[in-house]
């Protein structure tokens, strides 16, 4: 490929007679073309939608001229401002809960002799596989104020008539979000814990500190940057979720930004106002990202390194059971209980019917698999668009990571920065940007698979890029240099050395993207057409009607397929492939 390109450019050089042009072209290396191609792709995927968002927000929908009226419409109402404040408040609460869930378990799983560590880890991966909206449905079944299972059990045991838990409240909303997002905290903080050596902890122990004092005074400060970093990520993820607020914040009467945005998309359709409304959110998330970089960049702890030092496990004594009980509790409320009630509802005629033989049925599965006209198609669409997006994202990201890490081209840092930037774009905002650029004429991709794949690729590019960077970094350039010395070109080095060495990175990165992409809702919600509906959108439509049994059945089928694909991945990659994320 590169040789074709280079011969082409030489041919052009010969054709273009002028001296100055030839000299420019002589300096022009074929690999620069690759840089240009990648830059164009990133510009199309990221700069264009965000640019369109900004431009639209200042565009008068009628005249097409400049206006700030969209911002006045978007923020001129107390209720719209309130939704933004609510969202920030909710995000902060989700962060606190996610850290409370994620950090102790990450510590217990990596640094202590807590029993059943692998079982707990496996349970937490369940939180990664379970999409947030299914967790939400699970908790509606568990904690609906009148007939939620926990309330029914509570009332029949105590005889009280008041419910003990109610999912349709602010704490309910925060809990349902946190049981999904704490996974991010767990993964990032686990990785940090695994890189700390034990010498400092030993010093504290020798000076008489018990295991908990050591953990609080020594270990915790060492991983604080990772905790803060993952907390910010959690914040970004939670404020952008669409499914959970649609399920819970409407009955809870807690307006948030994503619901308000979807209102601007109803009648009268005001893309411009929606764009204006999302700009402050974008600024906040971008600001947080800058903050996160600062915090992580200041990490001058020599103790946190990949090399040297012994890492020993802390013996907790009887406390090991306490921390195990806590971890088990978190796994229970985040994965096991919601999954259990979801499965039970899927096999029930009526989810309130409980465990009775005459309540048992396979009808829900028959309905979603064979009778419902679009769910079969939607399953295929979800899996194929997820797979296509994962493939595109990982290949794109690896190419960029390779160029950035090997410093092959000038300004490659800009590519890296762009590849990471979708992290700060909430999914639903990205969807509005994509809608504005690619759905409308003249491009007119509305309702195509392509627009979904492009949007998903963009959305998950940062995950791909971090995985790719880690993979490339792990390969020492001397092996490629050996190829070059022996007369092989860059391409030979890539195909014969780098490629095979990156297989594992490719596969694990692919899985890390495929799982969320196959379940993605926030980005899909404004981009699907009638023939390109993905499972998450079908589930959302079912949830409107309260068809919880059927929704559970379809959700279980999706989960089953994804778990099967994960299981194949784990078989080939080993159980710890997810920890390679950092």
């Amino acid at each position: 490929m590169a040789s074709i390109l280079s011969s082409l450019s030489h041919a052009e050089a010969g054709a273009a007679g002028s001296q100055s042009r030839v000299s420019w072209l002589r300096r022009f290396q074929p690999s620069s073309l690759l840089w240009i191609v990648l830059a164009v792709i990133l510009a199309l995927l990221i700069v264009a939608p965000v640019g369109a968002l900004v431009t639209k927000s200042f565009t008068d929908p009628v005249t097409g001229g400049f206006t700030i009226q969209n911002y006045i419409d978007a923020y001129g109402r107390a209720r719209h401002v309130e939704a933004l404040i609510n969202t920030l408040y909710m995000g902060a609460a989700v962060v606190v809960l996610s850290v409370l869930f994620g950090v102790p378990i990450a510590w217990a799983c990596t640094r202590t002799d807590m029993p059943f560590r692998n079982a707990i880890r496996l349970g937490i991966f369940g939180a990664f596989v379970m999409p947030p909206y299914l967790g939400g449905v699970g908790w509606i079944l568990l904690a609906g104020p009148n007939s939620g299972w926990i309330n029914v059990a509570w009332q029949s045991i105590t005889g009280f008539t008041e419910p003990i838990v109610n999912v349709f409240t602010f704490p309910g909303l925060v809990l349902v979000m946190a049981i999904n997002t704490y996974f991010t905290v767990f993964i990032l903080v686990s990785a940090a814990f695994e890189m700390i050596n034990s010498e400092m902890e030993d010093a504290a122990n020798m000076l008489g500190a018990g295991p908990f004092t050591t953990a609080m005074k020594v270990t915790l400060p060492l991983v604080l940057p990772s905790i803060l970093g993952s907390a910010l990520l959690t914040f970004l993820i939670s404020i952008a979720l669409y499914g959970v607020p649609a399920l819970i914040s409407i009955p809870a009467r807690f307006p948030v930004v994503v619901i308000q945005l979807s209102e601007f998309f109803s009648f009268p359709l005001r893309v411009q106002v929606a764009a204006a409304y999302s700009i402050p959110l974008l600024l906040i998330t971008a600001g947080l990202m800058v903050l996160q970089r600062r915090i992580l960049a200041r990490r001058g702890f020599a103790a946190v390194s990949g090399k040297g030092g012994e890492r020993r496990i802390v013996k907790l004594g009887k406390w090991r059971w306490v921390i195990f009980a806590y971890s088990m509790f978190v796994v229970l409320i985040s994965v096991i209980l919601p999954l259990l009630v979801l499965l039970m509802a899927a096999f029930s005629r009526s989810w309130v019917g409980g465990l009775a033989l005459d309540n048992l049925t396979l009808q829900n599965f028959r309905y979603v698999l064979f009778e419902h006209s679009s769910s079969q198609q939607a399953l295929i669409t979800s899996l194929t668009t997820g797979a296509a997006a994962a493939t595109a994202a990982i290949l794109l990201a690896l190419a960029i990571a390779y160029i950035v890490q090997r410093r092959l081209l000038p300004m490659s840092g800009a590519l890296g920065f762009l590849a990471m930037s979708p992290f700060v774009i909430p999914g639903i905002v990205l969807a509005i940007g994509f809608y504005a650029v690619y759905a409308l004429p003249p491009v007119g991709l509305y309702g195509t698979y392509l627009i979904l794949i492009l949007a998903f690729t963009t959305r998950f590019l940062p995950i791909a890029y971090t995985t790719g960077t880690a993979g490339v970094r792990a390969i020492h350039p001397e092996m490629e240099e050996a190829v070059r010395i022996l007369g092989g070109g860059r391409l030979t080095a890539i195909s014969k050395v780098v490629g095979p060495l990156l297989k594992r990175t490719l596969a694990s990165g692919w899985l890390l993207i495929f799982v969320p992409a196959a379940q993605e809702l926030s980005t899909a919600v404004f981009l699907v057409g009638p023939n390109t509906r993905v499972v998450s959108v079908v589930l959302l439509d079912m949830s409107e009607e309260g068809l919880l049994e059927r929704l559970s059945a379809l959700g279980s089928v999706l989960l089953l397929i994804i778990v099967a694909i994960m299981a194949i991945g784990v078989r080939f990659l080993g159980r710890d492939f997810m920890l390679r994320r950092t």
């Binding site: 109803s266 006209s373 007119g444 309702g447 949830s543 009607e545």
Partner: protein
């Protein structure tokens, strides 16, 4: 032989039997439409007028009658469905063929945007005389279902004598935390219901209702399902759902409020620029066919055809009291009451 046929045909044409001639005529038209539709192969039906299950079974019925045409319903609440259609219209990439909603003001808005095909099924002439005048007078959409709003309650949790009798009973403090309603920004019929209640009682009705802390869902069907599951005792919902539920043995019963049922006539139109225009027209004809009305009746819904009676135990529409909201008023009032609703209920 051929000669005889010709003679008979000629005679038939001469004889004053308009109905027969018409049905022959219709059969020919239908056949022609069917052939053209078969070439298109598919019809995509954006709908909020039925539940997912009913939409699927309506499509099933259509596919049995017209083999070779795939019928794909895309069911969501009126608000979401309208949002999707509007997105397509704005993108200049209409993907749906037929659009059905409980909120006819959506159809008027689309008509203003030239997004509707000027088309009424020939079958409109057989429509029930109460429904026929509700079709669009310029011929852009027709009434495709009548789904009155009433009250449903859970019979395990509420005794018949304790059940609410009227709309105003909903504000009784005894129903605190036990009512389900739906959001007028999502559900089209909930929007009309909100307007109708405001017209009847003034906005104070909703302020009092809010004190009872109703659960606010997105779809009308959600309230019904909350009552079936016992999560809520009573719901403002489409009584067709609860009547069908009663027939299936679910623990629900239906209340026809003393002030009258609220009547949102659902409307259907063929979208301008539909990718499958002939299939769309055939589907529209099918919605006013006798077969379809019989199917509606069997599901305890109101038939659309003049010749098909309502199911046993259900009074025909013209005998009971009904509350309606004129479309013109809906167009003016809906955005305003959606705002008021959000102010009062905080969402």
């Amino acid at each position: 032989m051929l000669k005889n046929v010709l003679v008979v045909t000629a005679l038939a044409a001469l004889l004053p039997i308009p109905a027969l001639a018409q049905s022959d005529d219709f059969a020919a038209y239908e056949k022609q439409l069917y052939e053209a539709a078969k070439a298109e192969g598919e019809v995509i039906w954006y709908t909020s007028q039925f539940t997912t299950e009913m939409s699927e079974s309506a499509c099933q019925l259509f596919m049995e009658r017209y083999e070779g045409i795939k019928c794909s319903p895309v069911r969501a609440t009126g608000g979401v469905t309208f949002q999707r259609v509007m997105q397509e219209v704005q993108a200049g990439a209409v993907q749906g063929d037929v659009f059905s909603t409980n909120d006819q003001s959506d159809l008027l808005e689309l008509k203003k945007l030239n997004a509707l095909e000027k088309f009424l099924p020939r079958n409109v002439e057989f429509m029930s005389p109460i429904l026929k005048p509700m079709n669009d007078d310029e011929g852009y959409f027709f009434v495709s279902s009548v789904s009155p709003y009433g009250i449903a309650y859970n019979t395990n949790l509420v005794k018949a004598e304790e059940a609410p009798k009227s709309w105003s009973d909903l504000t009784d403090p005894k129903w605190k935390d036990q009512i389900a309603i739906s959001h007028p920004s999502f559900s089209g019929s909930a929007g009309l219901w909100t307007l109708a209640m405001r017209n009847l009682f003034g906005w104070e009705f909703f302020e009092k209702l809010n004190e009872g802390n109703p659960q606010i869902g997105r779809s009308t069907a959600d309230g019904y399902n909350l009552v079936v599951s016992g999560e809520r005792k009573i719901a403002v919902t489409a009584i067709a759902l609860s009547r069908q539920g009663e027939a299936e043995g679910q623990p629900v019963a239906t209340v026809v409020p003393t002030e009258g049922l609220m009547l949102p006539p659902s409307g259907t139109a063929v979208l301008a620029g539909a990718p499958h225009p002939n299939a769309a027209k055939l589907f529209a004809e099918f919605m006013l066919s006798e077969e379809y009305s019989v199917w509606l009746r069997d599901l305890k819904r109101y038939p659309l055809r003049a010749g098909v009676d309502t199911a046993e135990g259900i009074d025909p529409l013209d005998t009971g009291k009904v509350i309606t909201v004129p479309v013109a008023e809906a167009v003016r009032g809906l955005v305003e009451i959606q705002e008021s609703f959000r102010d009062t209920f905080g969402i």
